[in-house]
Subunit: 493 residues, 2 copies
Amino acid sequence: MFKDASSHEIDQALNNAWQAFHQYRKCSLKERAQFMRSIAVELENAGDELIQTAMRETNLPEARLRNERARTMFQLTSYADACERGEWLEARIDTANASKTPPKPDLRKMLIPLGPVVVFGASNFPFAYSTAGGDTACAFAAGCPVIVKAHPAHAQTSELVAQAILKAAGKCNLPNGVFAHVHGVSQEVGKALVTHPHTKAVGFTGSYLGGKALFDWANQRKEPIPVFAEMGSVNPVFLFPEKLKQSAVDVAKMYAGSITLGVGQFCTNPGLIFGIEGDELQQFITTLGNEIKAISPGTMLHPGISKNYAENRARALSQQQVQTVAISDAQAAANQGIPTIASASGEAFLNNPILHQEVFGPYSIVIRCKDKGELLEVVRHLEGQLTATLMATEKDITDNDELVEAVKNICGRFIVNGVPTGVEVCLSMHHGGPFPATTDSRFTSVGADGIKRFARPIAYQNWPDSLLPEELKNNNPLDIWRTVNDVVTKASL
Amino acid sequence: MFKDASSHEIDQALNNAWQAFHQYRKCSLKERAQFMRSIAVELENAGDELIQTAMRETNLPEARLRNERARTMFQLTSYADACERGEWLEARIDTANASKTPPKPDLRKMLIPLGPVVVFGASNFPFAYSTAGGDTACAFAAGCPVIVKAHPAHAQTSELVAQAILKAAGKCNLPNGVFAHVHGVSQEVGKALVTHPHTKAVGFTGSYLGGKALFDWANQRKEPIPVFAEMGSVNPVFLFPEKLKQSAVDVAKMYAGSITLGVGQFCTNPGLIFGIEGDELQQFITTLGNEIKAISPGTMLHPGISKNYAENRARALSQQQVQTVAISDAQAAANQGIPTIASASGEAFLNNPILHQEVFGPYSIVIRCKDKGELLEVVRHLEGQLTATLMATEKDITDNDELVEAVKNICGRFIVNGVPTGVEVCLSMHHGGPFPATTDSRFTSVGADGIKRFARPIAYQNWPDSLLPEELKNNNPLDIWRTVNDVVTKASL
């Protein structure tokens, strides 16, 4: 067990980070990218010990953890590539025009780092959304030092990852404070980190209560700072009539897999499925139920999560007008999440906010709306979501424009004929969404655009070319894309 | 006089805006741009009546108001061009790859509008930062309806501009609720607008107290919403030794003009000037004082502003260790702002937070630091600023890297050998800065990048080409720049 960081230790970590910031932000894009690639190498060098420690702490299977480490390394190296390509800098140049009244000065703009970033990792992804995960990678790419608070559920894993990062920092000759790692179970540690004057931004993945607390502390500071908190989602799925007629059974089988993937412990788990009452929906529900019965319970990440799952599931199933459709036939051991499907009417859903809430685990509820009108009404009462999915033919979509637009309005990623689990790491990914899915729908935590969370523009006015940063010099020495007098180009001036 | 909007009227305006949002956001980039250009035409059509009304309400001279209207029209048309060019959409495409494990889906991302935006205009720019100003133009470009709260200091001007916008909306066959205009003197109107559930973002230009109140209300909502509040700045200027040696007199003359431009009523007015004690700084101070004495007081925007100026100026001048360097020789009439220069030591500045505060009007204080060390110390105690200016030779800059980096860290626009007044409208402009200059240093209120304040990304996963928005279709029918598989291109897929 690790001791909670004292306020003195936190102060020291932030002071070191602030010192390091002044050096690290001067590192070139190439140097930042080298550091990130070096972290990926050290993660691999951490070898089996890292995997086994994570297995012990999270109950996740070895193959999953190996894949997740590989994904984390891919994040680091692909964001390093994006960092070097430099499109994220949003470099813009407008040249001077002395003949205008008043004369137009030379103006050049690019993004620069905000300062030290505090990262709170997720319990459910000990690598990809934790210590050396997406938030950390984005902050390093932006030019920010990082202070990670280890998730208590995998503190030893986090410690090993932190050592890998520090090794990489040493090999790259980076200043001591570019990375720090602190432990903490109490709220006080989180609050001290977020409210420290040298903290300039926060990244978080976890629960609504956790993320919202950080957001509030950050906004109550004398100098408020941006918080990007990804706080989960119920990821609604909409089953359209023609699609169901064509393939209710296939869709049900696909969703049985998605609902129970990783014992349902994904923020993109499909927790709500909507359809219009009828034989096809009934066939979908029956098939989904039969599939779920055949899927065995799995051990959850830690006892706290499995206890929450048991409680939230029991609460949902005990609501009036909620029917239990299916429960896994297999016996559940301690700390296991039992695959479960419930069902309720659209009316019941509209009248009971409890049914809108996330039940984190292998659980989903099918909502039977009586007609399209009720389905539209339901959508208008949904909160912001990371994802929404249409199981629909093209005709289903074109015939239901108002409904489709209403769904679009509440989600960050909009899927057709797929499942929301699985968050591809690429520039086109948006892992974000309207509140309460995140605290700022304008940013993403997956994909290299996530770098922009931790950077701000600065405009250089009337600077001599020799003193401008490389990114903005006339001859474009870094060969990056820039917008020059409103034209996107790599050309020199 | 106009009556404060009732809570019923505000509710109705937001409900109409919410209805209109579902239509307006479907308008193509071209249709939005046409609307914006049409507003520019109607502003011109509002003719002399508009100018004369503004003259009466703001005391600003005719030439300035004609220029400001032209600037406002330029903003509308240049942001319309940017809207159509579509770079702001950040369109990204990553094509599917079935051979990956797991298979990589087709993902395409672009920005979409947040929803109704409430805009609070500035007292000091009745056109450019008000009813049809930059915030409104950016929101329309993003696809958002706008509700403007008229600034009470120029409510009739605002009313005429609102009519121009409504005329343009009518000519473009846009839905009724795409724009609304409400009046209000009491805080309650602002609060009702910001806390209405259909309000999805806020734009504000004005005082710290005003902007911070909106920010707090927005964050205390059940669903917090983004607020971009530009809250002013003291815009520090740093006089470097070699530069002063070369041209103390010229620099002083240039700054006398900048400090008193528009009776000092710019958020980019240089309110703080720093130098290192010595003969050259003394020469600068003497020349600046002589210039200021010869500049006549001007009538300020409204009696409230002139009263605040008189009080804040008196308070600053009455501080211990503050010397009054020069006051305009001419007699001041009622409501006029008297050009004034004060001076104090670096030590006095470090010990007295009152000297750090903005005195909105034709006032500036010269801080005499005893050496570079004290100057660096002073910079480290400055709050966030819209601009910072170095009056410096290249050698001054290269010799003082630590100081220059510290200044860079606190400003949004970084000027060399110029004046901060004058905010060019172009893509490379950044009109923003670290708190308390604004509530979010990552965004700008001038330049087409300001559109991004009111838009959020959505990722389309696995959509058939025929159902994708034009912006993301394979054949790129809008001919916009997109990033396809990490390559910036206009090519079709």
